[in-house]
């Protein structure tokens, strides 16, 4: 079985600055993987480079053994919330239905079946009653859930999520994590750009430490150590002694 995601020598530069340097790794199927690193580490850029949303100066990306163009139908994407203008005249159900457009191809309109799938996805994220709500009237957490539902509607095998927990209330965060775990249990692979170091051990079974170059990637218990973190954050971390594990402030 081909690895869901295999990267070789990926490098990305923005004008004179190298933002990602020679990234190579391979992830196994069915894992919930957190991408961790300081600001400017290139975490979002990594996802965008894999999805060909930003140009790279070198590197190979292999998704389920093939190129991204070939296997894009197996990939789901939850971008950052600011990437979109929420004043657009559309409702929650419509946004989720857009997740089905990839399967529809050109010109074909979404069928009743597509709308039903969209409705079910909204239910999975607990947003059924907001189906017909104009998206500008949704809270930050609700908008995030709509984006998540849209990715679910894609019925993918490999998911990329860019900071899904930013600006989201605790209840939404719990709901999202539960959903990601159920995806994992279905054998899907999920990569999440994450910013809160204190929840990494609880949420993710694999972790990727990134700071322009790849510091390490692997199972959380092995990789998520104090030394590795200090290396990733270049000594900019403050760690307090917590009850079971250190509390990290960055």
């Amino acid at each position: 079985m081909a690895s869901p995601l295999s990267i070789r020598n990926l490098s990305v530069a923005y004008q004179k600055k190298v933002v990602l340097e020679n990234i190579s790794f391979s992830v196994p199927k069915g894992k919930l993987i957190g991408i961790i690193g300081p600001n400017g580490a290139g975490k979002s850029t990594l996802i965008k480079a894999i999805l060909d949303l930003v140009p790279s100066i070198s590197g190979d990306v292999s998704i389920f053994g093939g190129s991204y163009e070939k296997n894009r139908k197996s990939v789901g994407y939850v971008p950052q919330r600011e990437s979109v203008d929420w004043d657009f005249p559309t409702d929650a159900l419509d946004v989720v239905t857009m997740g089905r457009y990839g399967k529809l191809g050109w010109i074909k309109r979404p069928s009743q079946k597509d709308k039903e799938i969209a409705r079910q996805c909204l239910e999975k994220v607990g947003m059924s009653e907001y189906s017909n709500r104009q998206i500008s009237q949704l809270s930050g957490g609700q908008q995030q859930r709509v984006f998540l539902a849209r990715a679910l509607a894609q019925e993918a095998e490999l998911y990329f999520m860019d900071e899904p927990f930013v600006g989201v209330d605790a209840a939404t965060e719990k709901a999202i994590i539960a959903l990601l775990n159920s995806l994992k249990n279905q054998g899907k692979t999920v990569l999440v750009v994450h910013h809160d170091l204190n929840t990494v051990k609880e949420y993710f079974d694999w972790v990727m430490l990134l700071n322009v170059s790849l510091v390490d990637v692997g199972p959380t218990e092995d990789i998520f150590t104090t030394e590795a973190l200090q290396k990733t954050y270049g000594g900019k971390l403050t760690m307090l002694d917590g009850e079971s594990s250190p509390i990290i402030i960055n």
């Binding site: 999805l51 657009f88 005249p89 457009y101 979404p110």
Partner: protein
Amino acid sequence: MNFLQLIQDPNTQWILAGTLLLGICSGVIGCFAYLRKQSLMGDALAHAALPGICVAFMLTGTKSIIGFLIGALVAGVVATFAIGYITRESRIKQDAALGIILSVFFGIGIVLLTKIQHSSYGNQSGLDKFLFGHAAAMVSDDVKIMALICAFLIFITWLLFKEFKIVSFDPNFAKGLGFPIKLLDQLIMLLLVVAVVVGIQAVGVVLMAAMLITPAVSARYWTNKLHYMIILASAIGGISGIGGTLLSSLGNNLPTGPLIVLSATVIFVFSLLFAPNKGVIAKMRVRYYMKKTTKHSIENSIMTATKPKEGQS
């Protein structure tokens, strides 16, 4: 002749048909321009059309409307590409790129225009009519061509509605799904150019921007659904077209183009003020109501808190 006679005059009817088509066309594609924050692109494209029209005249030597339209189209496409290129490949932001293309293309257009007018056959060119529009000169053939172009635009928009929607709402996501966003962007731009080309005959280069922007903005106030917004914008555009034309027939010196624009503006101001939910007056009523109920519920809480409980002396 009096008003009734006027609108039964076939010439006037052709003009009315032409301005109606202009309004509908620009309303439809104007919605997408608005949602993609490219409202002023129409302004830039309209100005950029001038050199295209001049070159078409210089190449064909005739006043053929098809020639002008093709010229404007080519210039518009070049302008679109240039704006995109400048914005992408340099630190120049989109507003400056628009300003640059608008003025430079228009400047080149004026150079060509003055050259043509200084030449022997120039004075019959009628090219300067494109600057302010000359709705009154629209004849049946012009209008028939406009109708075809308009039908084409509406058809493409209808056909690719979901593609246009997703590429306008979330282009990165659309790209991830496999849609060629650059191609779709260019196609929307092309339709914008098409609408401009239809419209400048009636309202001219300078005021064309209004027809792309004002009906779309007005429609946004009345609905939260994209397909209704498009229908409404085309209706508002069409009504403005007809309204302006009729108004200009009332006087002797009244120019059609500006009156069409002013009709659309009046509808805009009306929408801004009176639209339910989003209009200024509706919002003021909500604020007033909220103030009253908040005050009322605070008073109630105070009352219940200070009321002596039962059974207590």
